[in-house]
């Protein structure tokens, strides 16, 4: 997963079923991502009632937000690599 242009990743999860896939993704893939990008802040935050989203921040504070509601672990991985290859 190339996340070279990304300055910070924020994953917001809710406590319900809607973020089950995203949670699975974190459990399975977090170690791998951290290994590839040890200095990239990859914030995982949970809050009941929050809309599960994936936010990537690029240079100059530009943010891209992808909703994760109901997505499977593989879908989340795809969304993240899409963001990684996107240029702001």
């Amino acid at each position: 997963m190339a996340l070279r242009a990304v300055r910070e990743v924020r994953v917001l999860l809710c406590k319900g079923e809607a973020s089950a896939g995203a949670k699975q993704f974190i459990v399975d893939k977090y170690a791998e991502i951290k290994k590839a990008h040890p200095l990239l802040p990859f914030l995982v935050r949970e809050a009941s009632g929050a809309a599960p989203t994936l936010t990537a921040r690029f240079a100059h504070g530009v943010e891209k937000v992808v909703p994760l509601s109901g997505l499977s672990s593989a879908d989340v991985a795809k969304k993240l690599s899409e963001l990684g290859s996107a240029s702001p």
């Binding site: 406590k15 200095l39 802040p41």
Partner: protein, 779 residues
């Protein structure tokens, strides 16, 4: 005519009568002035019995004749629902009404459960029962004498009378004896207006004395710079003694002598060395113990109270700020069972005088590096800062948020710096395990949950100084349930016994590798708890220590399980959790403060340094041509070094969100207005962004709250709840370690992150009260 007179008399009698009922409620912790305040909004009780005659009637003995029915009986709904948790109830008959009360309660509690407040002085629900004031006497059918309701367990079928003539006579007798030796100095007593004795003497006191003996004289005791004593006023309820021994864990305070010669004191003169000693001021029902700094400054009826949150440590105590004429007069605790119960630490209570000294109240600009700061207009100051933002390349902009920063201003700071392509936005927290995972920097067990732990390991923390009230909870757990506590760190008194395993990294490594004997204790526990002080990460080998901590935490399965997160960091500042939640990067190590390079990044000398209430900047490591902006409320170290000073607001002057060490977001309230031209912090940053040509996409309070909800929803909802981390996520994320090879410094011992409890931030450093505490108590 007569009827009209009587009706008027009844009307004037009402407010006072209603307030008795409320007043006893007040005696439970919240001061009676609350009760006083609420009695104003309380509608007068509708069903008044026969009107009280305007003239007070006296009986043969010379006592005032009071109505038979005491106010405490009126307006009670005996059919109120019982808490389902207390399923086991017994029936007692209180004042002729059969009621269900929780099994095992004392009569005073039973009465309380059905809404009758029995007057009391010595009984306090958080302390052991002493039964020595006798104010709570009630009558029990077939009992030969009145009994103390606080010390008498309720038994099934017991017939209790709380307002019979015998009870009234007994309480009047008790009151008369109490007053026989109590000085008549209410006009010069600080407790006046919120004194339990004063209030209750209105109902049970006689209007004349019968004693001819002279009153008892007692020497005042010196309990240190916080608690003022006037010991002739003491009624020997021993609440202060019980608090000191049972909650605070200091055994110095006690009673000497007996009978008329009894005194409260320390025997050998000694100051009360406890971080929570100020609570005895609240507990003392009379004016024997009052606040020294508050002495003779205000009367309770002049004060305006605002409910707020304390930010001087990471505990998030709930407080009440009392103000008069735009000045903070005192700070009192507010009940919150999940956090501070009804106590607060001495710093929280007494550091408020720091809010009035050393304040920055106007923008300042240093026209030339050699010259002193000069007052300037907001426009000039902000324009200058905006220009610097535009002129400095992003990689050379660095921002630092201090220990008192609120979440809104840190969010604005981060957004502003990000917009100018800077990534060096730091908070005043040493880098521990990854800030990616919320479980790595909060108190996962929650504060109240600490009392569920059955084996505790402390690492590099002096819990008594870093979180005195958390320590008091742990102490309760140790004393009541004999929980084993071990510590790797400074050998300090914690007010209970614990095993000191050592103070070097080698012990931590043994624990992490599972070779230490204490690992067995942790592994055998249902709910083990590991509490790490941030002092563990203020070391040169912080990364290795973090690695070892993560290894330890992930190696004990019971530490992270469903419904229990037994790994906690004791954050010493109110800003810490909020800052890490927002993604401000922790300082790589305290030595790096001033360089602005987070771990691994190339250190480029900073051209623009923005300090948001940050005072621990390392000047030697700052490049001499750096332009320093200080935004804050106190003229501390940071402001001295600055080229531009922007005056912000302190926590009593703004509405700001703060997350405490368990991750609970709470909001402060604006009790007074900021001095001079000082402004709300996040608005200052918003104004800079506007002038610098990259306006932040929010303008009003609602806007920034919305943005906060998008960035960190766990802080935004204002429901004051904790959003716990799921165990599987915590487990997966904490298992990740950057590498397995570290150099450890086995020579440097683990130390606490605090060396002086009384001075930890700009406000407490400016406080004279805290200065005298430092002189009296700090080593």
């Amino acid at each position: 005519m007569l009827a009209a007179l009587q009706a008027r008399a009844a009307a004037t009698a009402r407010p006072g009568r209603v307030s008795l009922q409320l007043l006893h409620k007040g005696a439970r912790g919240v001061r009676s002035s609350d009760a006083r305040a609420s009695s104003a909004v309380q509608p007068a009780q509708p069903s008044q019995p026969a009107a009280v005659s305007a003239v007070v009637q006296l009986d043969e003995a010379g006592f005032a004749v009071l109505p038979k029915e005491l106010p405490s009986m009126r307006g009670v709904d005996f059919k109120q629902e019982l808490d389902p948790r207390y399923a086991e109830t017994i029936e007692v008959i209180i004042d002729g009404h059969p009621v269900q009360v929780q099994k095992g309660s004392s009569l005073i509690q039973a009465c309380e459960q059905v809404g009758i407040q029995v007057p009391r002085f010595c009984y306090h629900e958080r302390l052991s029962v002493a039964g020595n004031c006798r104010m709570c006497l009630v009558e029990i059918e077939k009992a030969p004498k009145p009994v103390a309701a606080c010390a008498m367990p309720a038994a099934p079928g017991m017939k209790v009378f709380t307002n019979s003539p015998i009870v009234k006579k007994a309480r009047e007798g008790v009151m008369e004896f109490l007053l026989a030796n109590h000085p008549l100095d209410c006009p010069i007593c600080d407790q006046g207006g919120e004194c339990d004795l004063q209030d209750q003497s209105l109902f049970f006191g006689s209007d004349r004395g019968r004693t001819t003996e002279s009153r008892r004289g007692v020497e005042d005791k010196n309990l240190g710079p916080l608690v003022k004593t006037v010991m002739t006023r003491c009624i020997h309820c021993t609440r202060c003694v019980r608090f000191a021994t049972e909650v605070a864990g200091v055994d110095e305070l006690g009673t000497v002598g007996r009978g008329n010669a009894m005194e409260i004191g320390t025997y050998v003169e000694r100051m009360l060395d406890s971080e929570i000693s100020g609570n005895i001021v609240d507990l003392c029902p009379v004016g024997a113990l009052t606040s020294k700094p508050y002495a003779f400054t205000a009367r309770p009826w002049e004060l305006r109270s605002v409910e707020s949150i304390d930010v001087l440590d990471g505990y998030g105590s709930n407080i009440r700020v009392d103000t008069r004429g735009g000045e903070v007069m005192r700070i009192l605790p507010r009940l919150n069972e999940d956090i501070n119960e009804e106590w607060i630490s001495d710093k929280t209570r007494f550091a408020y005088d720091g809010l009035k000294r050393q304040r920055l109240d106007t923008p300042l600009i240093r026209p030339d590096p050699e010259m002193p700061l000069q007052p300037a207009t907001w426009k000039d100051a902000l324009t200058l800062v905006a220009q610097k933002f535009k002129a400095t390349p992003g990689a050379r902009i660095g921002a630092f948020a201090g220990p008192l920063a609120d979440v809104e201003s840190m969010l604005a700071l981060k957004d502003l710096c990000n917009a100018f392509d800077s990534e060096a936005i730091h908070c005043d927290v040493p880098a521990g395990p990854l800030a990616d995972c919320r479980a790595a920097y909060t108190l996962g067990s929650t504060i109240a949950g600490v009392e569920e732990a059955d084996a505790v390991l402390l690492l590099s923390t002096d819990l008594k100084r870093e979180a005195p009230l958390l320590n008091a909870r742990l102490r309760r757990r140790v004393y009541h349930d004999g929980v084993r506590v071990a510590s790797v760190g400074p050998r300090v008194p914690l007010t209970y016994e614990y095993e000191h395993l050592g103070d070097s990294v080698s012990q931590l490594l043994e624990l992490a590798n599972g070779t230490h004997p204490f690992c067995k204790v942790l592994a055998g526990a249902q709910r083990p708890l590991v509490l790490v002080g941030t002092g563990a990460y203020e070391r040169t080998d912080a990364r290795g220590v973090a690695w070892a901590v993560q290894k330890l935490v992930t190696s004990v399965p019971a530490l992270i399980q469903d419904g229990w997160l037994g790994f906690g960091t004791v954050q010493p500042t109110a800003a810490a959790v909020g800052a890490l939640d927002l993604g401000l990067t922790p300082l790589a190590s305290s030595a790096a403060a001033g360089v602005g390079a987070s771990d691994g990044a190339i250190a480029e000398p900073l051209g623009l340094v923005y300090l948001l209430g940050y005072d621990s900047i390392d000047l030697d490591r700052l490049s001499p041509d750096a332009f320093v902006v200080y935004q804050g409320h106190h003229g501390d170290v940071g402001a001295e070094t600055a080229d531009v000073v922007l005056p912000g607001s302190a926590y009593t002057e703004k509405v700001g969100t703060y997350a405490n060490m368990e991750g609970r977001a709470q909001r402060t309230a604006r009790a007074v207005s900021p001095p001079g031209e000082a402004r709300d912090d996040w608005k200052i940053l918003r104004a800079i962004s506007e002038l610098a040509g990259k306006p932040l996409p929010y303008a009003g309070v609602d806007g920034i709250r919305e943005r906060l909800a998008a960035v960190a929803p766990q802080l935004a909802d204002g429901t004051e709840s904790i959003h716990a981390v799921s165990p599987d996520i915590a487990k997966a994320m904490l298992a990740v370690r950057a590498s397995d090879k570290f150099d450890f410094d086995t020579k440097t011992p683990f130390a606490s992150c605090i060396d002086n409890f009384y001075m930890t931030d700009a406000i407490s450093r400016a406080s004279t009260t805290m200065a005298s505490c430092t002189k009296a108590f700090a080593k």
